[in-house]
Symmetry: C2
Subunit: 216 residues, 2 copies
């Protein structure tokens, strides 16, 4: 189990804190609003009413003991900046800050936040990706330039794998096929893809893009 500090128990901060606690980690939450602390105190390890911009408070809590610190303050940008700077200077390994817009995100990156999240914007981009190609249900980018996509088979991809020649035409390989709850890993060249099969394909990101365009 790991230890996390969450600063700000708004909708985003509270969701991070309670989910980490459900996953059996130790979670400390601070917020200057009494009501926010009352709502969360039985769902995390510790919840304290405190001002995150007060360096003495952060020093007492011990920033360097946490695997990550999440600064989930939105509207009060000055408080977000001060808390992020204080956490980094007190030795926090990994600081993740929420930004309310692109400009704030740029400033937070420059002052040392290890990761910056814009919940509304990032969620909007993710939804657009899902709506854009419904045949591509989900995708997973691997760190090395390869990508895996989950595709629901329609007429364009029905038939024997040997005849579809996906590696030659696109540079992608089928790694699993799932039909009626049964999964086949590394299907043979004689396997016949049918309408409605859920298939995982892997390839270089450019190859996957070529396939996405063909399917759109």
């Amino acid at each position: 189990a790991k230890q996390f500090l969450v600063v700000g128990a708004g909708r985003f901060g509270a969701a991070v804190a309670t989910t980490l606690y459900e996953l059996k980690h130790e979670v400390v939450v601070i917020d200057e609003d009494e009501e926010a602390i009352e709502n969360i105190m039985d769902k995390v390890t510790h919840a304290l009413i405190a001002d995150a911009t007060d360096e003495a408070t952060l020093r007492k809590i011990g920033c360097s003991n946490f695997d990550a610190i999440i600064i989930a303050i939105g509207e009060n940008f000055e408080a977000n900046i001060l808390a992020t700077v204080a956490a980094k200077s007190l030795g926090a390994q990994h600081v993740i800050s929420k930004a309310k817009d692109l400009l704030s995100a740029r400033v937070l990156e420059r002052i040392g936040a290890d990761m910056v999240i814009r919940p509304e914007h990032d969620m909007g981009v993710r939804l657009a990706g899902q709506l854009s190609s419904p045949t591509v249900i989900d995708a997973l980018e691997m760190g090395d330039g390869h990508e895996v996509i989950e595709v629901e088979i329609s007429a364009k991809l029905c038939g024997r794998l040997a005849e579809l020649r996906l590696p030659n035409r696109f540079g992608v390989q089928v790694i699993t096929v799932s039909r009626n709850g049964e999964i086949t890993v590394s299907p043979h060249a004689d396997f016949v893809l049918q309408d409605g099969d859920m298939v995982l394909l892997v390839g270089h990101s450019e190859a996957i893009d070529k396939l996405r365009t063909y399917l759109a």
Copy 2:
């Protein structure tokens, strides 16, 4: 290319609209705020100043012509409800509504929204999942109860696949291994996993959970 209507050009709505337009779809945006429309009009197909609760306006735009309608109004819950109801009654195929909290989400589901998103909450849950098991870099849930996870190999999973016996011990199979930019699909039983390899594993969701607990 598909057609989308986005109601409300706040941070979430604007991100959905501009991303769909960049992916070459037709996007119409309406918002009652002139400044929001000015900021977005050169990044989408059409942007109109209008009140989304006015049924005559929605009838003129033609709700049933869109592949999906995204109602991205947050604070003004009454407007969100009225726009969602009007869109469904005018024949919209797929209505996605943003909710500002759990209670609003429940109401929107009951009045007919096909999908409800809480950007701050949903992003918080997603971040917690990523922080909880850093060895599990990403995951993809397949519709049929199977899941694929991307794991960075550490001491707990080093060694020959035949000796690790992952299918017997956890019910999971290695489908790809990526090392220094080279990807191996369906590795042989003699393949030796090394520290730092990026590996994709597939299995039933319960089996993947067992592995996640072992790795945490």
